[in-house]
Symmetry: C2
Subunit: 105 residues, 2 copies
DNA sequence: TGGCTATTTGGCAATAATACCAAATTAGGA
DNA sequence: TCCTAATTTGGTATTATTGCCAAATAGCCA
């Protein structure tokens, strides 16, 4: 793989990597309904607020989320809602795997 | 986030995590054209064959790839081609980011 | 059987990701 | 201005991922 190709896939991997964490998937799923502030998400997730803030920053940095400031609050929202399409395929992969698991038993 | 919800997103994250690496994205991209053996992929990637084998195993384990044995060779192929849809959205995210980057300059 | 090829597995060192706490930053209201 | 609330940043210990080498495994063929 030449350097240019590697850089191409590196950039793509960065975006996918930003989604490769249960908390961050949860966040994306929640934001499907609309923007939410850090405090709302933190309460739902139940982790330290600094942890949630860092997860949000990773998603924003990858270009998946954008943010709107209102007073002291930061409202995060999906920047590219096509991300939600991922879930459908992931669901299909899971179903396939479960099906096979059943067949073995 | 209750335990059940966490497990739900953990399972989904595992699948996305399997794609969150440049080499593994490259593999998925190559297999879009059809099955390939470990040796072919290894030559294209230019890493140690054991490294490539482990990447393939991660993808297979996640339910993204399936494998067919033919003699001493193992042919890997996409199990759930909907994975390829990811690329479209990733491309869109990249384009958005680049556009903004241009606007700043 | 013995040798050869393709692939996987085990071990391990280097690097990256994660989560918490504490401290810094920012904005609003008394 | 001072206090408080919301959020981000810095620091750090813990855990996970990665890639190579060496060794093991599996299948073909002489």
């Amino acid at each position: 793989m030449d350097e240019k190709t590697h850089a191409r896939f590196e950039a793509r991997a960065k975006i996918i990597k930003s989604l490769a964490h249960p908390t961050r998937l949860f966040i994306v799923n929640e934001l499907a309904e609309g923007e939410k502030c850090v405090c709302e998400l933190t309460e739902m997730i139940g982790a330290d607020i600094s942890t949630v803030s860092k997860h949000l920053s990773i998603l924003k940095n990858a270009g998946v989320l954008k943010v709107r400031k209102d007073g002291t609050q930061m409202f995060y929202q999906l920047k590219t809602p096509c991300i939600l399409n991922f879930f459908q395929c992931v669901e299909r992969v899971l179903k396939e795997t479960q099906k096979e698991h059943m067949e073995i038993l």
